[in-house]
């Protein structure tokens, strides 16, 4: 691991469908499930991305095309050098009888979580939702892991609908001791409303605009708690989340304004 900027070649690219790809690099460091790296496209920008798997001697980043940065990533070829700093932050803790809830490309950090849970013989159910089928990356791999539920907005994979449509049923039918979530904050806010009354403890992998990744610029600090998402997060547990006054609300942009 290195906080210093180093560049590495992309070893391999997997296309999950239009605008969703996984990029593989040599496993240049160890990484906990939920940690992220800062990815630099030379000449363009640097943004945080979750490590989505450790597969053999490679690490994987899974990226969905949104704006300038992620769209530029779609043009990258194997052999291209990109900057990687990290891994940063604190990841998930491990628990048995878990429910994994993911939305869209937020599934990325849950993939490595599932890998690690399995390695340690923890059982879990997965509930993954997205706009359309290619965003549920590695859907057949998830199939192989045991009980899983997919939802898509367009019904192209699994149930037509969103994760919160099936969540109550899953909670009723299973003995869930721990919940992991990652994905859009608005999804999590709705999930939280449903699970808070159950008393089940949980962790959520959050996203914020980041600059330094190393806890000094203050860009990712959460209102209410003063938590630096890049150091004390990006995975926060129930207690940490309860102190945050900005959950599901406005975020800070590059200037630090709430937008």
């Amino acid at each position: 691991m290195s906080d210093l900027m180093q560049t590495f070649p992309i070893r391999r690219i997997v296309e999950h469908g239009p605008g969703v790809k996984s990029f593989y690099f040599d496993k240049i460091f160890n990484v906990e499930a939920g940690q992220f790296i800062n990815l630099w496209i030379p000449g363009l920008d640097e943004k945080p991305f979750s490590v989505s798997s450790i597969t053999g001697d490679q690490i994987e980043l899974s990226i969905k095309a949104y704006g300038p940065f992620s769209k530029e990533m779609m043009k990258k070829k194997a052999g291209d050098y990109l900057g990687i700093r990290g891994p940063f932050g604190k990841g998930f803790s491990f628990h048995d009888k878990a429910l994994i809830i993911g939305g869209g490309i937020g599934i990325a950090p849950l993939r490595i979580l599932a890998q690690k849970l399995k390695e340690q013989n923890n059982t879990f159910i997965s509930l993954l939702g997205a706009v359309t089928r290619q965003e549920i990356i590695f859907s057949s791999w998830w199939d192989s892991l045991g009980q899983r539920h997919f939802t898509t907005d367009d019904g192209s994979l699994g149930l037509k609908g969103v994760v919160t449509d099936v969540l109550p049923e899953i909670l009723k039918m299973n003995d869930i001791k721990y919940i992991y979530a990652a994905g859009p904050e608005i999804m999590f806010v709705k999930v939280k409303e449903m699970i808070d009354p159950t008393g089940i403890p949980y962790e959520f992998c959050m996203e914020r605009y980041m600059k330094c990744g190393i806890g000094i610029c203050g860009q990712c600090v959460l209102d209410g708690s003063g938590i630096r998402l890049c150091v004390e997060g990006p995975v926060l547990n129930k207690e940490a989340l309860s102190g945050i006054t900005e959950l599901g609300m406005k975020h800070r942009d590059a200037s630090g304004r709430r937008v």
Partner: protein, 304 residues
């Protein structure tokens, strides 16, 4: 804890959060106070918000850090809100760091910042990352430094003003003297050094989006100590000694050079937010071991 007096302000410890580090919001600054920090300085802000430079904008290298944040800030309205919020939540002193693009803007930002009643206004005339936009930093010109000090003092009312200087330019001792003569209540020394550049040897491009960035952290400690030594020699107003302080010995060097209180920035990366507690305890132990009762007894001792 070593209580410290500075410009009629009471600090619970001599360590101060330097500008640009975790100083964007009340929540963030309050958290730093909980770790023993004696006073916080806000991120430097201007009238209007600024996006600053693209990333990478903050990059550690083996011996310190380069940054070219580009004075990104949410603008005065938002920052005044945060300062007020901090005031309500927390009794520790807060210093408002301000800058402007023109002389008039320096005055206007000061006037507006003063309304939030910070304990001090720190005037950043020495950021090395905004050359291309503004030409040389104001703080490398003696006449500009004089004029900014005057205008800021005029608009600050009863709130004390510290001018933040960089290590380069026409001599920091001379500049500090100009600030003092024009009414500054304190000097903050130093801002980042350099600037510097890192180039990635595989992609063969500068790493920082802005190409160059100011150098902070351990690499600049000797330059900061020397700067504080020089300022102490040329003015009577107190100094916020800043630059490269990471360990207790660094903090002591700064005090011996003449610092009144200590700005700590990059060390938050090296040592965690705990760095404030660590430094405070280290300074206390040093005083005890060497048989002193207070920081006053050793301040500037390297000049004897």
């Amino acid at each position: 804890m070593i209580n410290t007096h500075f410009l009629n302000i009471e600090l619970k410890s001599p360590t101060v959060l330097a500008s640009g580090i975790l100083g964007l919001t009340a929540s963030s600054m309050q958290r730093v106070i909980e770790f023993g920090c004696g006073a916080v300085t806000t991120k430097s802000f201007s009238l209007d918000w600024r996006t600053g430079h693209k990333n990478p904008s903050i990059i550690p290298f083996e011996h310190g850090m380069l940054n070219a944040v580009g004075l990104s800030n949410p603008g005065i309205d938002e920052m005044v809100k945060e300062i007020r919020l901090f005031r309500r939540q927390c009794t520790a002193p807060v210093f408002a760091s301000i800058f402007g693009r023109t002389l008039d803007e320096f005055g206007e930002v000061t006037r507006r910042a003063a309304e939030a009643e910070p304990d001090m206004i720190e005037v950043n005339i020495s950021c090395p990352n905004v050359h291309s936009e503004f030409g040389q930093p104001f703080g490398e010109s003696c006449p500009d430094t004089a004029k900014i000090t005057q205008i800021v003092k005029k608009h600050a009312g009863k709130i004390p003003v510290s001018i933040k200087l960089g290590p380069h330019g026409p001599g920091i001792g001379k500049l500090a003297k100009i600030c003092e003569e024009n009414g500054a209540d304190a000097i903050t020394a130093i801002n980042t050094a350099g600037p510097g550049m890192l180039i990635d040897i595989n992609v063969r491009k500068p790493v920082l989006a802005n190409k160059t960035g100011g150098v902070s952290g351990p690499a600049i400690l000797p330059i900061a100590v020397k700067s504080v030594y020089e300022v102490y020699r040329s003015v009577k107003i107190p100094i916020i000694g800043t630059g490269g302080i990471t360990k207790t010995g660094d903090a002591i060097q700064m005090i011996l050079a003449g610092a009144h209180i200590l700005g700590v920035g990059t060390a938050v990366y090296y040592e965690g937010i705990e760095v404030f507690d660590k430094l405070n305890k280290g300074i206390e132990n040093y005083l005890k071991e060497q048989g002193f009762d207070s920081i006053e007894e050793i301040r500037g001792a390297a000049h004897e």
